[in-house]
């Protein structure tokens, strides 16, 4: 494990000055940036059709190609239970965390009926993360006082065997911090010699390693792990933080190319591609703008909600707030092969959507709307 150089501000080669022009740090909510992408979607002939748009070659860093979303609504099915529960499903297994985060339930549905397991978090602990894919389920318990290290139960869904990762593990957990599951790998925060680091657990071998440590006076969050790599958002302790999205490999952190300097919020890696979000205005921290890169081609994916970028089934998903009064909130999908599409639209009225929850090849969303809340799930 090597640390990156202390005090180095990641010098990103180019910034998206065009996209961010006029997005000052003032207190002028009227100062809308000029949209660089058409937020509205075009409707495909069939609501379940494959997005018709084929991926273009892309633009440059300074002039990314704006993508227009097609509509390719999935076959969404309502999820049983309260919309206050956070449900993640992979089609066979369902992981449910109730609103008070005091318990969790992992349930298998099969031809022979349902089998279930349930556990209550110990007093003083709450469920902070519930992660699920085709092979693994991870339930993370966090100390309510955020003093003791978190502890995670990892379950092999094929065998039913579980093991624990906690503050006494070879690479110990720390209190809170980011967690991510994917590609038979679990990511979590740890400390190493006083540094704040990213631990990587190979779930098959149960072997943990320190993948990378943040520079001094830096932190990180928003970890993502896909078949194509690991990424986190790093930031320093200045006000505002200089935020940089980086790929982690070989103990090194490499900034995503083409991301606006210090403006990033999160990012993930796909095959020869990357997706990331930036915050154009710090005083609207929830309003992100998303971009992607395929090879050397850059794309403008339009507006999205900060903190909702999710990798699922070789594609990137993110949430978009209603772009006009009374319009629907949307779940957007982007992949290098298929381009940008709308996969879900909330009931109309006032609306927003939580971060989508990926269960490998199934995705679940919860929409909160003035015409009723709904939690729905769809196979990918």
């Amino acid at each position: 494990m090597r640390r990156t150089t202390h005090g180095v501000r990641y010098a990103v080669a180019a910034v998206l000055l065009v996209a961010l022009a006029g997005c000052g740090d003032d207190d002028e909510p009227k100062a809308e940036p000029t949209p660089t992408a058409d937020a509205s979607a075009t409707t495909a002939p069939s609501p379940t059709s494959t997005p018709s748009q084929t991926q273009a070659s892309g633009g440059t860093v300074d002039a990314p190609e704006s993508l227009t979303a097609t509509t390719a609504l999935l076959d969404w099915q309502p999820v049983d239970g309260s919309t206050d529960d956070a449900v993640t499903s992979n089609g066979t297994w369902t992981l449910t965390i109730p609103q008070d985060a005091s318990t969790w339930q992992l349930e298998k549905r099969g031809a022979g009926g349902a089998s279930s397991g349930q556990a209550g978090a110990d007093p003083g602990w709450k469920v902070s993360d519930g992660l699920l894919d085709e092979d693994w389920a991870v339930i993370v318990l966090q100390d309510e006082q955020e003093q003791r290290p978190s502890k995670a139960t990892v379950t092999d869904l094929e065998t039913g065997k579980s093991f624990e990762i906690d503050g006494r593990s070879d690479v110990p957990t720390t209190s809170g911090g980011t967690w991510a599951l994917g590609d038979d790998t679990l990511l979590h925060a740890t400390t190493d010699g006083g540094a704040y680091c990213l631990a990587e657990v190979d779930l098959e071998s149960r072997r943990s390693t320190v993948a990378w440590c943040a520079p001094k006076r830096h932190g990180f969050n928003a970890a993502h792990v896909t078949e194509d790599g690991t990424s986190v958002l790093t930031f320093d302790d200045s006000q505002p933080s200089c935020r940089t999205v980086v790929g982690i490999a070989g103990g090194e952190a490499t900034p995503f190319p083409g991301v606006a300097d210090c403006k990033a919020w999160e990012g993930l890696l796909l095959e020869d591609a990357a997706v990331w979000s930036v915050i154009p205005r710090e005083r609207r921290v929830e309003e992100a703008h998303l971009y992607s890169r395929v090879g050397d081609g850059y794309f403008d994916l339009g507006p999205g909600v900060a903190g909702t970028l999710t990798a699922c089934d070789d594609a990137a998903y993110f949430v978009r707030d209603p772009q006009q009064q009374g319009g629907p909130a949307a779940l957007m999908r982007w992949s290098p092969d298929d381009g940008l599409s709308v996969e879900y639209e909330s009931p109309k009225g006032e609306a927003f959507i939580e971060q989508p929850r990926c269960g490998g090849d199934t995705i679940t969303v919860t929409a909160l709307t003035s015409s009723g809340d709904e939690q729905v799930s769809a196979g990918l």
């Binding site: 740090d25 207190d27 909510p29 009227k30 008070d100 985060a101 005091s102 007093p123 003083g124 709450k126 902070s128 966090q142 309510e144 006082q145 955020e146 809170g176 911090g177 980011t178 925060a189 704040y196 932190g219 990180f220 969050n221 958002l233 930031f235 302790d237 200045s238 006000q239 505002p240 933080s241 935020r243 919020w265 710090e282 005083r283 609207r284 921290v285 929830e286 909600v305 900060a306 903190g307 909702t308 949430v319 707030d321 209603p322 772009q323 006009q324 009064q325 006032e350 609306a351 927003f352 939580e354 971060q355 919860t366 909160l368 003035s370």
Partner: protein
């Protein structure tokens, strides 16, 4: 143009202006009066705007009701934690004050006392399961009950009486606010019971005067007759549309479309982040008071005044201190602040309340959301109930309406896994509405 011709034109123009004057929408007189639909010519039947009602007298009937509720609290005796929530829930008692219901620690509500108790008890059970849960500073149900239960019967009676008497003095505002925003008809004898809500035309009052906008970007005076308002929006005249109800006394409805496109109050430079994890209340209060006086006092000062403990701050204490230690409660601004349960309010009603407060009153709102990731997606973790300072809105053209607020919680200060967040924020107002509704008290300080 020759001089005689110019004179004719001038006189004609003046005559035209005078003729049209009665048709100009009324913006409220100097006293902010609203005209009832039932009697548009009778000044004696006009009611003031809710902010200008002034303090209500505590009538003998209200006094008797306060005595009853206080006495009921004494009978609960000293309640230890072993007594259980069922008994502690009896500490949540409600008074029927002139047709409106006020529940101790909860505020003005439309729920029954039984419903309120059930709600608080359920929230306390959840809070007790989450023992010693880290909060950003909102007093949870369990801690609130424990604090009250820990008082001696005498001390509790004194505290209950003070809270209820303060509430009783604001009942006219509650009536008027419900009338103006929820469309609740005023009782036929409302003005007889509440002369403080009667608008009396004063000699020399200009009939078509609109509220005078405060100069923009005015440095705060050290004394406190005027708040330290930096940006003041143009004030839209009150709409002339009248309610369809025909009570003896009524005020014209003012709809969202009647409000300016954008309003922003308070200086965005007069902000602070909470220096203790449980000081969102003192920090919000610090910013509210700073915006009034232009002077920054430390969070310690406000923590003491708010009676903040490591368990947090209660909403009724926030309202008490806004009323007692700032001038935002003057009739020219919000009038006496109240703790108002908006659990049954639609989003549009809630938004109308925000607009009324920020545009008409030009005064900050004590926001009371729960800090959960589903409402604040930039957070890494779900957190507790919370206080923020509502200070603006933006209709945002055809896009969704935004709410502007000061956010005291700088997650970076307490967690190395979270980046800095600016104290000044604007966001989809519907998310803030839902975060407010999700709080077990679902109330605001207005």
């Amino acid at each position: 143009m020759s001089r005689p011709r110019a004179l004719v034109v001038a006189v004609g123009g003046l005559a035209l202006l005078l003729a049209l004057a009665p048709f100009v929408p009324r913006g409220g007189d100097d006293d902010g009066a609203l005209q009832p639909s039932g009697d548009r010519t009778g000044a004696s039947q006009r009611v003031v705007s809710s902010n200008a009602a002034g303090r209500s007298a505590v009538t003998p009937a209200m006094r008797a009701e306060i005595d009853r509720v206080v006495a009921a609290g004494r009978s609960v005796g000293r309640v230890g934690t072993k007594a259980g929530l069922a008994r502690e829930a009896q500490l949540v008692r409600c008074a029927e004050l002139d047709g409106q219901r006020y529940c101790l620690g909860v505020g003005w509500t439309e729920d029954t006392e039984a419903d309120v108790r059930a709600r608080v008890t359920a929230a306390a059970r959840v809070a007790e399961r989450a023992t010693r849960r880290t909060t950003t500073g909102d007093l949870d149900a369990s801690a609130a009950l424990a604090r009250t239960a820990g008082l001696s019967p005498k001390a509790r009676a004194a505290a209950d009486r003070a809270e209820l008497e303060a509430a009783a003095q604001s009942v006219a505002k509650v009536w008027l606010l419900r009338h103006e925003i929820q469309g609740e008809p005023l009782p036929a004898d409302f003005l007889d019971r509440h002369p403080e809500a009667r608008a009396v035309a004063r000699a020399g009052t200009k009939p078509t005067a609109t509220p005078t906008p405060t100069p923009a970007a005015t440095p705060a005076p050290t004394a406190s007759a005027t708040p330290n308002v930096v940006t003041t929006p143009p004030v839209t005249p009150v709409a002339t549309a009248s309610t369809t109800e025909t009570p003896t006394t009524a005020a014209p409805a003012k709809l969202i479309r009647d409000y300016p496109k954008r309003v922003e109050i308070l200086d965005p430079k007069q902000v602070a982040e909470q220096v203790r994890s449980y000081w969102c209340g003192p920090t919000s209060m610090q910013m509210i008071a700073w915006g009034w006086s232009g002077k920054e006092k430390t969070q310690d000062v406000w923590a003491k005044r708010l009676r903040t403990t490591s368990s947090g701050t209660g909403m009724t204490d926030m309202v008490r201190v806004v009323n007692n230690k700032t001038g935002w409660d003057k009739p020219k601004y919000a009038g006496t602040y109240i703790t108002l349960d908006v659990g049954g309010w639609s989003y549009k009603q809630w938004m109308l309340l925000m607009m009324r407060h920020l545009s008409d009153y030009r005064a900050p709102v004590v926001l009371h959301p729960v800090l959960r990731k589903r409402y604040y997606p930039y957070l890494d973790d779900d957190a507790s109930g919370h206080y923020q300072v509502g200070r603006g809105y933006d209709k945002n053209g055809k896009k969704v309406t935004l709410l502007g607020y000061f956010e005291p919680w700088n997650q970076q200060r307490f967690d190395p896994s979270e980046p800095y967040i600016d104290r000044v924020q604007w966001r989809n107002a519907y998310k803030s509405y839902r975060a407010n509704q999700d709080h077990f008290l679902h109330n605001v300080g207005v």
